[in-house]
């Protein structure tokens, strides 16, 4: 009983919410035919490119695919710590 009360008011971690979240992601990957593996590599490449110009907090970087009715968007979010001021980035 207490468990039910806690679940209802303090979190949404019912198994159906987990299922729904997983499903939405799975369908996005299915449609784009992009695997977790490829997204991981993309994420790494993006980190490398941005790191040439900025010092970023790599831990806070998120890479998501968001889907609306007729389009999918790749959304990248990261915290910039500071810009690098080198003429010729490595």
């Amino acid at each position: 009983m207490l468990n039910g009360l806690l679940r209802k008011y303090f979190g949404k971690s019912t198994s159906k919410n987990v299922a729904k979240k997983r499903l939405k992601l799975a369908l996005i990957y299915d449609k784009l035919e992009v695997s977790d593996d490829i997204l991981g590599k993309l994420r790494q490449d993006i980190v490398n490119v941005i790191s040439r110009y900025f010092v970023i907090d790599k831990g806070s970087l998120t890479l998501d695919i968001q889907r609306s009715d007729d389009l999918s968007a790749l959304v990248l979010s990261t915290r910039i710590v500071k810009a690098k001021h080198e003429e010729h980035p490595a």
Binding site: M1, N3, G4, L5, R7, K8, Y9, T14, S15, K16, N17, A19, K20, R22, L23, K24, A26, L27, D30, K31, D69
Partner: protein, 266 residues
């Protein structure tokens, strides 16, 4: 007026396509429509046993398409329900024995002969699926509230749209208790994810097993919640699209429902 061909499909196996085909077909026939239920699962036929007509199979759909018999010879007339006919699958061939073009030609004949033709599609998205949807005017996608069935339904919906068929969704085997507990996707969740029109909700019902055991159509069983739901779905397909869709609910007393309102588990 020409009849309509409705394909019952799902992608995933074991979600209740055959039960739905038999039940909706029987309900439409009980309502006075001339109905053919067609088993498209060549090589793995089952609609005949579900309808209790397995002893009466002589010819099958492959015989009709290949010209070995007439459509009327292969259509088995149900003796309990007037106007219900079964066209069984062949058990010895495989799916490649038929082509979508042949099915389109058979479809023309079926259109003239019946008010409603329900195609029981095999699982999968290969030739068997292509054959089953080739002549279809409409489609009902069956899905149970679980991750794998919803994902496969999404795939099949995409394939149907690609052929200019706008499918309707039937959510089968809903366990209202589990939904209330948050341990099963609700039908709203499934509709959210698949974003297509709903044609009906069917709850989990022990009577489905009893019906299959005995071969007596579910809609003829007394006290079957699933049977009643299938009857309403048949009415929606048969000119009453606005008939309200009832949500499966748990039966509960005042205190139990009060407890659930404030968030306590039942």
């Amino acid at each position: 007026m020409e009849g309509q061909i409705i394909v019952i499909t799902s992608g995933k196996g074991g979600v209740g396509k055959t039960t739905a085909t038999a039940s909706i077909g029987a309900a439409l026939a009980l309502d006075g429509q001339r109905v053919a239920v067609v088993d498209m699962d060549i090589g793995l036929r089952n609609l005949d046993v579900v309808l209790g007509l397995e002893n009466r199979v002589v010819f099958n759909i492959v015989d009709v398409v290949k010209g070995k018999c007439k459509l009327r010879q292969a259509a088995i007339k149900d003796r309990r329900i007037d106007n219900l006919f079964l066209i069984p699958a062949s058990q010895s061939d495989n799916k490649d024995v038929l082509t979508p073009e042949e099915m389109v030609r058979l479809g023309e004949e079926l259109h003239k002969e019946f008010d409603f033709v329900l195609m029981d599609c095999p699982a999968g998205i290969e030739r068997g699926f292509e054959n089953a949807i080739a002549a279809a005017d409409e489609a009902v996608v069956i899905c149970t509230p679980d991750v794998s069935a919803v994902r496969d339904a999404d795939r099949v919906i995409g394939l149907l749209y690609a052929r200019s068929i706008t499918p309707k969704l039937l959510v089968n085997r809903i366990d209202a208790k589990m939904v209330e507990r948050g341990d099963m996707l609700s039908h709203q969740d499934v509709v959210d994810v698949l974003s297509i029109e709903l044609v009906g909700l069917v709850q989990m019902d022990d009577q489905v097993v009893v019906s299959t055991n005995t071969g007596l159509p579910l809609v003829m069983q007394k006290n079957s919640k699933a049977g009643e739901a299938f009857c309403r779905i048949a009415m929606r397909l048969n000119g009453h699209p606005d008939l309200p869709i009832e949500e499966p609910r748990t039966q509960k007393g005042f205190w139990k429902s009060f407890g659930q309102k404030i968030g306590l588990k039942n």
